[in-house]
Amino acid sequence: MARNFGLMAAAVCALAFAAHAQQDKSVIDEIEKYRAALGDGNPAELWEARGEDLWKQARGPKKASLEKCDIGLGPGVVKGAYTVLPKYFGDTDKVEDLESRLVTCMVTLQGFTREEVVKDPFGGPGKKSDLEALVAYITGSSRGMKMNVAGTHPKEREAYEIGQKIFFHRGGPHDFACSTCHGDDNLRIRLQDLPNLSKVADAQRAYTTWPAYRVSQGELRSFQWRLYDCFRQQRFPELVYTSPASIALTMYLAKSANGGTYNAPAIKR
């Protein structure tokens, strides 16, 4: 019985494919045109400029800039730093991604409290996020460079392996894992192409184009936001900003993208 269903399903697939391949192609062509048109001007530049100001301004109770912050390549080095993240930092004895590292520096160098810093991690109507602007500036400074996450420190290796488990962890009322949508080739949800993040080429293409300015939201969205909103749609509880699981998962995805040329902040629908 089950086998018959399988055969029938295969026959249906073949028929549907023949009848609708043409229609699919024209729909996808139109979407490609839309994406090409978007590339003409990217408002992410506004976030990058604001982020550069925030990086260089003396701010916080300690009236210090972030220019002594070590985000991966030593204090104050911005260029290329994003390509080596996430990474183990001795001063916190933790693996950190860009966003957690910015929080660390705003607390230690500028004297803000952690609560103040993470109050508005994501922008929305009527509220700007300083973190998203800083993220835009730092990531934009790695454009054109190759992803080069080491992952060799024992804590980095542990984060990678746990991150991989999280990627395949099915749960919630819908039984979804990250891999449900991002574990196979050439899939689409509605008309949106889904990268297969367990494969190098797709992982590179996806990871190197975040963060991105989202046209549909009028906001620049960071990688932490990307994970937060994926888990929301996965029907999981709310991902805590810069939490260990978010960083472990980022470690898995970033390392999978090694060798890819970084090209963000990008622009997406």
Binding site: L15, P154, H169, G171, G172, P173, D175, F236, P237, P244
Partner: protein, 206 residues
Amino acid sequence: MKKTIGTLALFGLIAAGCAAMVSDEEREAQALAMMKASFKESGQAKLDRLDQDDMQKMCSRYHGDKVMPRDVGEKLEKEQQALIKFPADGKLVGDWKSGERIAQSGVGKQFSDNPANPNGANCYACHQLSKAELAYGTIGPSLYNFGKIRGFTPEMQKYAFSKVYNSQAFSACSSMPRFGHSGILTEAQIKDVVALLMDPESPVNK
């Protein structure tokens, strides 16, 4: 001093070696513990959503080159089949128009959703159904002409109901949610989705 450094380095190597030998099961447990500390309850989404039943656990473990042994898959399918609850009134086919609305709606069970509103099934996110809707996904097979091709038989109605109710009963580790088993759709809603697939008047069969 040199000796101490050497000994320390040796310990370091052993520790690194041991770290590399952490078993899959241990990593799974570490991942779950880390997730529990990394998510917060929000709206209807409580932390117990991170816990896994047998099906979720086994299907998370096997992927890529790690193929699930056949007997494990068959056991899962049998267990899930036993969990299907058929309607007491024996009727499996509802209203296809309502079924189409359910197939289009992607809301439900997210922490951002109001639990007072009806849940959708979002069938179009993964499947082609009616010819008119071009914005369909390809995670699942096309279901266009579902009933027309398979026949409008009581057996096929029963299969359609069962598959929507608990997809895992037929192919272990299917990507499709268990809409009935997990309480995403009500029994009446599942009947309406079955109608979308099985009613000769449904646009799926035109």
